[in-house]
């Protein structure tokens, strides 16, 4: 559809800008073509205010059946290509049907927009927010312009944040107790913990902590689960003996993490796990996975 527009060379240019565009924080966003662009960052309940400028190409007139701007929150499932689920859709009429001869500016405002979900760019799913300007026309296709923006929502630190403490093992072989100081982490947090070796009868080679992201999309029989290992962090080199305790300190900031998303609009979930892996000399792997909850903390970001 878009290239048709290009082929016919649209008779006007459309610019969408935010009023506080200069001062607003910009974050990178990966586009479909692989390019990363900087876009404005919003959070839920914010006023999205700006203006649309339509500038007809010199000497051309644009006949239209009206100009509108929409704010869309979409979930796009890749295996279900082409299907967008709009969970948010707000419209503002900018102009009544008529003709445009010269540059015209339309201010717009969406007040206290409810944007409960964060922008997300996953393996199988994408959640995005866009402003869409449409110039409706008769007989010919409408002229459409999009402006992406990113939504991030901040959560206050959880009031209950228990540590994760667990004793696991293989009978008469390996017995360990591990402890992560918290079960909920903000994105720039540090995982602090300890591993106690209660019994070691196998020759360990090393131990690492993995951060894994599990993205599940769809529902019922059509559920797709994709797991990615985002980080492999070596905790221990060599073979410990009984009674040894190994410290854990893993900074989360270097990794591209998002908050945990649970059942977003019944379409997808993103969960995070800490996976403790012990490797023995024969390269056998022993592991224990623990879910952690990620949240976005205002101060830290």
């Amino acid at each position: 559809m878009n290239y048709l527009v290009g082929a016919f060379k649209p008779p006007c240019n459309i610019f969408i800008s935010f009023t506080d565009g200069r001062s607003r924080k910009q974050v990178p966003l990966k586009k479909e073509n692989g390019k990363t662009v900087m876009v404005a960052l919003f959070q839920s309940q914010e006023n999205i205010v700006g203006e649309v400028v339509i500038e007809p190409i010199h000497g051309k007139k644009v006949e239209h059946n009206g100009v509108k701007i929409e704010l869309l929150g979409q979930i796009e499932l890749y295996f279900d290509r082409g299907n967008f689920y709009d969970f948010t859709s707000l419209v503002r009429e900018l102009d009544v049907p008529g003709e445009l001869y010269e540059r015209k500016t339309y201010p717009f405002e969406f007040s206290t927009v409810e944007m409960p979900y964060e922008s997300y760019n996953g393996v199988n799913v994408r959640l995005r927010y866009i402003l869409k300007v449409t110039i409706s026309r008769n007989y010919v296709s409408n002229i459409v312009e999009y402006q992406d923006f990113v939504v991030r929502n901040y959560t206050p630190p959880p009031s209950i944040n228990n540590s994760i403490k667990m004793e696991v093992g293989i009978e008469d072989c390996l017995h360990i107790e591990f402890e992560y100081s918290k079960s909920k982490y903000h994105l720039k947090d540090v995982v602090i913990g300890k591993i106690y070796f209660l019994l070691v009868r196998i020759k360990l080679k090393n131990m690492e902590l993995e951060i894994r992201r599990q993205e599940s999309t769809g529902s019922g029989p059509n559920t797709y689960v994709e797991t990615e290992t985002l980080a492999k962090f070596e905790l221990m080199d060599g073979a410990p003996v009984r009674g040894e305790s190994i410290p854990i300190r893993l900074f989360l900031s270097p990794y591209e993490l998002t908050p945990t998303y649970r059942n977003i609009n019944n379409k997808f979930s993103v969960k995070y796990y800490l996976n403790l892996v012990l490797v023995d000399e024969e390269d056998r792997r022993y592991f224990k996975q623990q879910e952690i909850t990620m949240y976005r903390n205002l101060e830290a970001s």
């Binding site: 980080a231 070596e234 905790l235 221990m236 080199d237 073979a239 003996v241 040894e244 190994i246 270097p254």
Partner: protein, 789 residues
Amino acid sequence: MLNGTEDEEKWLAEGIAGIQHNAFYMHRALDSNNLREALKYSAQMLSELRTSKLSPHKYYELYMRAFDELKRLELFFKDDSKHGVSVVDLYELVQHAGNILPRLYLLCTVGSIYIKSKEAPAKEVLKDLVEMCRGVQHPIRGLFLRSYLAQISRDKLPDIGSEYEGDADTVMDAVDFVLQNFTEMNKLWVRMQHQGPGGVREKREKERSELQDLVGKNLHVLSQIEGVDLEMYKETVLPRVLEQVVNCKDDLAQYYLMDCIIQVFPDEYHLQTLETLLGACPQLQPTVDVKTVLSRLMDRLSNYAASSADVLPEFLQVEAFSKLSNAIGKVIEAQLDMPAVGAITLYVSLLTFTLRVHPDRLDHVDQVLGACVKKLSNIPKLEDSRAMKQVVALLSAPLEKYNDILTALTLSNYPRVMDHLDIGTNKLMAMVIIQSIMKNNSCISTADKVEVLFELIKGLIKDIDGADVDELDEEDFKEEQNSVARLIHMLYNDEPEEMLKIICIVRKHTMVGGPKRLPFTVSSLVFSALRLLRQLQGQEGDIVGEEASMTPNKIFQLLTQIIESLSAVPSPELALRLYLQCAEAANGCDIEHVAYEFFTQAFLLYEEEIADSKAQVTAIHLIIGTLQRMNVFGVENRDTLTHKATGYSARLLKKADQCRAVYACSHLFWVDDQDGIKDGERVLLCLKRALRIANAAQQMANVARGSGGPVSLFVEILNKYIYFFEKGNKQITSSAIQGLIELINTEMQSDSTNPDSVADAFLASTLRYIQFQKQKGGVMGEKFESIKL
């Protein structure tokens, strides 16, 4: 494994190449102030240290390369104008590295800058570093990492007086840090032995000892911390180090670390914490060479004691000796299979210690010896030559220290230790004792001590059962016995009574020495007894009535018995001489019958035992000489004896010997004293008899060989004539001398006489003497005037 070293070289070369490669890019990043790249390449460079293929030795080479590079990196980190990141952020940034080993090396590097920046208390950073390093559990990699940590933190410890000391940072934190690092390193080090396949244990032990200094260095650092005063050492440092040492249950580590403790910390600390330190010893593994550890400790303490007299009270105050002694006892008790040499070495060290520290405490010395005896008595036979050497060292130590055998004699356990020596060593030790006495010229003056002394040297005094007589080297034996003989002269007391006791004891011991020893010892003993006699004489009067046992008679009886023992040897010549000596002594004491008895004995020996003609000649001259000096005899006894002597003289085998003996006998009748006997007639008789014998000898010579006999005999007789002539013997006349001279001249000129230059010279000087006397004038000149030459 066949070409293991070759492979290792290859791996090392690869590792070095890897380091150089990444270091190159790191340098480029440093030059362009690119922190990200610097971190990336430094981490890659440090990844080379993750190898498991190298032996400690080779790994060290690799480590040193990386170490040098890290120094450059540190300089870059230090200068935040170059990378624009605060040290706190940098401290976090380096922890993003995925691999633990590079991460921790970088962390330590930044950590040291962090401390320097003082943006955080040193103790926090140190604690964090030492804690994080736990992540490396591989022994070699862990040891080197922690050694790096120790290295970079050394000058940043919050020690007293250090710039890093503050309210929050005390020296205690520094100590805690080093102790923890030490503990962890030791654990890793000990664990090394369990790594890898079995069977190459030896190789691994070797590799481990190559790494020992990495561990020990921590103790060295501890000892360098100013703030570790005695109190802290006692309360914290030592208990914790020892706890680790004991708990690691590894013999190599325990031995090394104990030694390390002893060597790196000051002596006074050891002294004040002896109990703790020693308490750890019995808890060590049975295979640990505790004796060397203890020996070193005692050596150090003894040197400390020797260094200054001021410190000695400290030793007393802490009862160092009894503590050491207890500890040694416990160690020996605990380690049942410790070889004897080990135990004895310990005792030697302890002895050295006590000799240096408490030279006045003989009871300590005795106690040590007693403990040693106890130990030795559990061993059936001491055959280990090294153990033997140690025992000798043990026994020699007090001698050297006190330079006085008397001290050793008061040690009741001394002889008991000697009993455990084998025969050869026992003798050796006895010789050492004697030499010590000789060297120091120490006089042993009581009977008790003499008794003990002889108990000590009994190896020399008598044959010991089981001794292999054939083995004896003749020369050694002589030397030994001469030493004993000399020793006897060192036993002396001014008090005659005590002296007599000493003599009796010596006699008791020497009498059992057997025929080979007696000739050496008896004469010493006899002369010792004779000295006592002279002593008695010197203070006569006050003694005589006092004690019945102390009469000269008694002593002479004793002497007789002593000399009689020689008959078992037999050694008649020696016995004869001794009898004569005694006779002379009896003469001095004015006891005629005793003197007579001695002569009787001498004559008996002469008649019955002395068969050799040469010995007879010697003997007869001795008899004559002695007899001549005797003045105790009455006329009758004297006559009997002189008659006997003259008779013997005439019956000698060779004429010449007869002649000489007979003219010697002439002196028996002319004693040139005021009241000496002066029987001119019998003198002349003797001389004439001598002349006759000389003549006969001359003739016999003519008959036998067709040549003249010795003219010298005549000259000798002429000399006797002249002597008596001078002395005023009326029977000797100038004409007789004249006649003799002529006779000699005739003999000389006779064809049959062989020219004899000695006799000629003798005659010439005799004549010259007469001439001289004549010219001198005076009474003597007139006397000689009548002699015509």
